[in-house]
Symmetry: C2
Subunit: 247 residues, 2 copies
């Protein structure tokens, strides 16, 4: 839903505020369930490769074969993979985001959830991409094995997941440290964020989004058939994890 902010930069959608002559950036507002609110410019969702973070470039070099870009958004990384001649499907739950991705040239797109796609997709994949912090889509200890099983159903032999995550525990900010502590007291993973996104009068439902450490990730993988093969920590607190399916 918030991804319809893409539409603004591309001139398709509503303007963020009417009237003013001063151009304003489109801001994505993220609310956390402890009352923390944060706004951030949304235009990075449309960044060209020259503007990317270094880990995004390293992530694309880890892709091979048939790629499923999960949470492709406006196709930021999928369009670049396609440009390099790779076979890539862009999946997103947002019709607005996929519309923009298609206008940017992404040919193979699907608007659905990962569960629904895994239940019906004929294509099998060699690489599952979770970039833009989309390791967060593991959500929780309850959801992670279900999500990973859906990927397993679509996995070719030797398939890998290339995921970018954030280790949240290096912070010294008490707002975050307290949040992590309260989460653990409630039986949640420390960095299991409860969020909603807002844009103008739109608000998503509240959802879980997981920032976990590599050690927590390894625990979540236990028993799923996915095995942690490498963790690239060069851009701390961000990291790139590669997991392979060992059936």
């Amino acid at each position: 839903m918030i991804r319809d902010a893409y539409a603004v930069r591309t001139g398709i959608g509503p303007r963020p505020l009417a009237g003013g002559r001063v151009p304003r950036p489109v801001i994505e507002v993220i609310e956390r369930d402890d009352g923390l609110i944060n706004g951030a410019p949304a235009d990075h969702y449309l960044d060209e490769p020259a503007e990317w973070q270094p880990h995004d470039h390293r992530a694309l070099r880890l892709c091979r074969g048939q790629v499923l870009d999960i949470g492709t958004g406006a196709g930021r990384t999928a369009v670049e993979l396609q440009r390099r001649g790779m076979a890539v499907t862009g999946l997103d739950t947002s019709p607005g985001a996929i519309e923009i991705a298609r206008r940017r040239g992404l040919r193979d797109t699907v608007v659905t959830t990962i569960d629904a796609y895994a239940a019906k997709a004929a294509t099998r994949y060699d690489t599952f991409l979770l970039l833009g912090n989309n390791l967060g889509l593991l959500e929780s200890a309850e959801r992670a094995p279900v999500f990973l099983a859906a990927l397993a159903r679509m996995a070719r032999p030797g398939a890998r997941i290339v995921a970018q995550g954030t280790d949240p525990y290096g912070t010294t900010d008490p707002v975050h440290a307290d949040y992590h502590r309260r989460n653990r007291e409630r039986g949640r993973i420390g960095g299991q964020l409860r969020l909603r996104l807002r844009y103008r009068r739109l608000a998503t439902d509240w959802f879980d989004y997981l920032n976990c450490s590599p050690a927590e990730l390894e625990q979540l993988l236990a028993g799923t058939g996915w095995e942690l093969k490498s963790v690239d920590l060069a851009d701390k607190p961000y990291y790139l994890a590669v997991m392979e399916f060992m059936r």
Copy 2:
């Protein structure tokens, strides 16, 4: 309260989000009572004159004598007036904002409301400045005469108000047009916004902030002793209004 976001740019306050290596702009989040939410970068509050809107430059040329800069914030315009050798007092309700204004060199500051200041201030003023859309501090048809009476108590003979406002009625955005209509149905001025500001876990109380047309402004002035002398419409929908006190 939101003005403590100033502290971030100047390195005094908390960072907007902990952890990430990617520098993020400080975003001010504005919520309206119809559920509209908007984020905007806060760094314009610290802009140097070269970065200002044209109407701010024209406003400063309309200042004369002893100046009270109401809602001075981090002293953006007051510091420049002082640099030009003018006698200026910066007033704000935010201690955080005034702390930054003082660090930026503003010598004469006061942390209080306009009502409390008018009740006790010994200084009398030739110019009252309401920039950065601070004509909005008129709030409502009920509040405007009280606010204007407070200024009158501090006015020297021939004193003027130099105020920057926004005419909200040029919009074709249905979200805003509907808001204006519902306001009128409830006996409020169309552009009488009900807002609160949020930053991290802080939220102000809800308050009224008035975007009115020059015609509505003229109606609000009736019977207050203040008279509309000129309206500069060069930067529509923004305008600069000059009012003079005719005792």
